[in-house]
């Protein structure tokens, strides 16, 4: 593994880029999915449209999206914004259903009593519904994180560099080392995202670890 030793700083740079391109859309996607998921859970008539509509976005091949977005947004092909937007779209596609189902799983009695105590709609959402939906949303977020880490590597083909660049590099030189390093680094990144999300979830849901009735 002398290759890794020689190129460690480069790999680290690529990994940083990878985290940026996969992580920022995760946050943006969540912020967009929250109101959409709320709409889907609040208005049952909208549910199928929103869920199927956003779900279909995920079926757009990533390469196609990476190529189309610069045209749609009027950006240069090499602009990383294109990748951020594409990844945000994929994140939204995965999270709208999760958010809707997470909010839908909040017990009716809890929502009723919140309303009866004088919560207005937005405050009830922020301080009752959303906290209770965190475990479900977090599960969806973990899937989206892994998916993002994997899809981002395709962006190499439109010239935005991140860990995926190691694959094309190794492929063009018929040299295995960078490919292996790239795969391992992607797996480690996915794990890193996963652990980070789990940790935040744990901090946000102390009530989930409370035991059952004790005398």
């Amino acid at each position: 593994m002398t290759w890794l030793r020689d190129h460690f700083v480069d790999v680290l740079g690529l990994a940083g880029q990878h985290i940026y391109l996969a992580g920022v859309p995760l946050v943006l996607g969540l912020l967009i999915a929250l109101p959409l998921g709320w709409l889907a859970s609040r208005y049952k008539a909208l549910y199928p449209f929103l869920i199927i509509g956003t779900g279909l976005l995920y079926t757009i091949p990533s390469l196609a999206l990476f190529i189309m977005l610069p045209l749609l947004l009027g950006n240069g092909v090499l602009n990383p914004i294109n990748v951020l937007v594409a990844m945000t779209i994929y994140t939204v596609a995965l999270l709208v259903r999760t958010v809707a189902d997470g909010l839908g799983a909040v017990p009716d009695a809890v929502n009723q009593s919140a309303t009866a105590m004088g919560y207005k709609r937005l405050r009830r959402f922020m301080s009752v519904e959303l906290p209770l939906a965190v475990p479900v949303i977090s599960a969806g977020l973990r899937v989206a994180a892994v998916s993002n880490v994997s899809i981002v590597s395709v962006a190499t083909l439109i010239g935005v560099s991140q860990l995926g660049s190691l694959f094309t590099d190794g492929f063009s030189r018929a040299f295995l080392d960078p490919i292996i390093v790239g795969v391992v680094a992607c797996v480690l990144l996915a794990l890193l995202f996963d652990v980070a999300i789990l940790l935040v979830t744990r901090l946000a849901t102390p009530w989930q670890r409370a035991g059952s009735p004790t005398a």
Binding site: V110, S113, A114, G118, Y119, T205
Partner: protein
């Protein structure tokens, strides 16, 4: 005071949940709405805090039309307790109780202090404050539900089958504590239940509803038992009405028979010497009755296992029902009457209780009911 003025609720599909209900829940009293499922009692309750919007009529709180009040403000002034408590699973017990004070902007410290005060008030230890609802039993959660509803000291409480989901023993405890709490607080309470026993036990007045919020009868519990207005109400109120009505009549000073007694450990000879009609009462060191014993059937000093249990005891001045039951359930046929500390005062026979019952006048119909029934009032016999 809460006043329903010809209130209706018709759902979009055309079903009438409540049809022109007119009703008054007086200040400081418990009004129970009771009826079979689908009678519109919960719908009526929820129209008070506008969880459900009436399609006709008005609901007044004192002199204010609730329809013209701000929704959230109206609700913050009304305590609300539901079945299974509906606690917030993600908040500690203290935070649950402090919900409305926080919404009202009391600030964290004051709200928390209030939460602790209420925790004690509903009989839960202070160290429960930091627990989560899932760590409490159903009965304990329900107490927290009551504490949460009381937190901002609202003048009005709405309670929707709050004690229905707990086992009968806990339910009775909760009911007793609720009555004790209410005698301190004097809230204006509207209470929904499907259980007529609960309605009779808790209500200052009971509103029996039949289908679609039709008020069949509005009476105090004694009146309801003595004079159900029609077959529906009579059926719904159930059997043993005469006996149950005795719960609402105080016992007089009975001419008690003195009862000789023996302590635990008395010899068969001592017990035989004290017995009357073959039975003697055994008392503990504080003169509290433990049970009856037949001296003729024991061969060794009195031990607890020998005692005939099952007899109830009645407190002097308590309801006639308890006195009669004490006599009926006693193996010696002598009903045990005790003082407030539970110490023996004497015994009374069933016929003595019955004589007292026959002396009493049954509750009379009120004027409106007399007119409806086409009866003239009972004439006072000239003395």
């Amino acid at each position: 005071m809460i006043r329903f003025d010809a209130v209706s609720k018709q759902f979009p599909d055309g079903t009438k949940a409540v049809d022109e209900l007119t009703l008054e829940a007086p200040t400081g009293k418990i009004t129970v709405l009771v009826g079979p499922s689908g009678c519109g009692k919960t719908t009526s309750l929820r129209m008070i805090n506008r969880m459900i919007t009436p399609t006709g009529g008005r609901i007044w709180i004192d002199d204010q039309d609730t329809a013209e009040m701000d929704e959230a403000e109206l609700r913050r002034g009304i305590g609300y307790v539901i079945q299974h408590a509906g606690l917030f699973p993600h908040r500690t017990i203290a935070a649950n109780i402090a919900t409305v004070p926080m919404l009202l902007g009391w600030g964290r410290r004051k709200s928390e202090a209030r939460a602790l005060e209420l925790l004690e008030r509903v009989g839960l230890p202070a160290n429960y404050a930091k627990r989560y609802p899932a760590q409490l039993s159903g009965g304990q959660q329900q107490r927290v539900g009551v504490a949460r509803a009381l937190a901002a000291d609202p003048p009005i409480m709405l309670m929707d089958e709050p004690f229905s989901a707990v086992d009968p023993v806990v339910r009775e405890q909760l009911q007793d504590e609720f009555l004790r709490l209410q005698s301190d607080l004097g809230k204006t309470i509207v209470f929904v239940t499907h259980d007529i026993e609960e309605a009779i036990k808790l209500g200052d007045q009971v509103a029996v509803l039949r289908g679609s919020g039709n008020l069949a009868q509005l009476s105090d519990p004694a009146q309801l038992l003595a004079h159900p207005v029609d077959d529906f109400v009579a059926d719904f109120v159930g059997k043993d009405r005469g006996y149950r009505a005795l719960s609402f009549q105080q016992s007089p000073q009975f001419p008690l028979s003195r009862e000789s007694s023996v302590p635990l450990g008395a010899t068969p000879a001592q017990a035989a010497a004290a017995a009357r009609d073959g039975w003697v009462l055994v008392l503990d060191a504080d003169r509290r009755p433990l049970g009856w014993i037949e001296p003729g059937r024991i061969t060794a000093p009195v031990r607890p296992e020998m005692l005939a249990r099952g007899g109830t005891v009645a407190t002097a001045g308590g309801p006639l029902r308890n006195a009669l039951d004490a006599a009926l359930s006693s193996p010696s046929r002598r009903g045990v009457i005790v003082d407030d500390q539970g110490a023996l005062l004497g015994t009374v026979r069933a016929y003595e209780v019955l004589a007292e019952i026959e002396e009493r006048a049954r509750p009379e119909l009120d004027e409106a009911d007399l007119e409806r029934a086409g009866l003239r009032p009972v004439e006072e016999t000239p003395g």
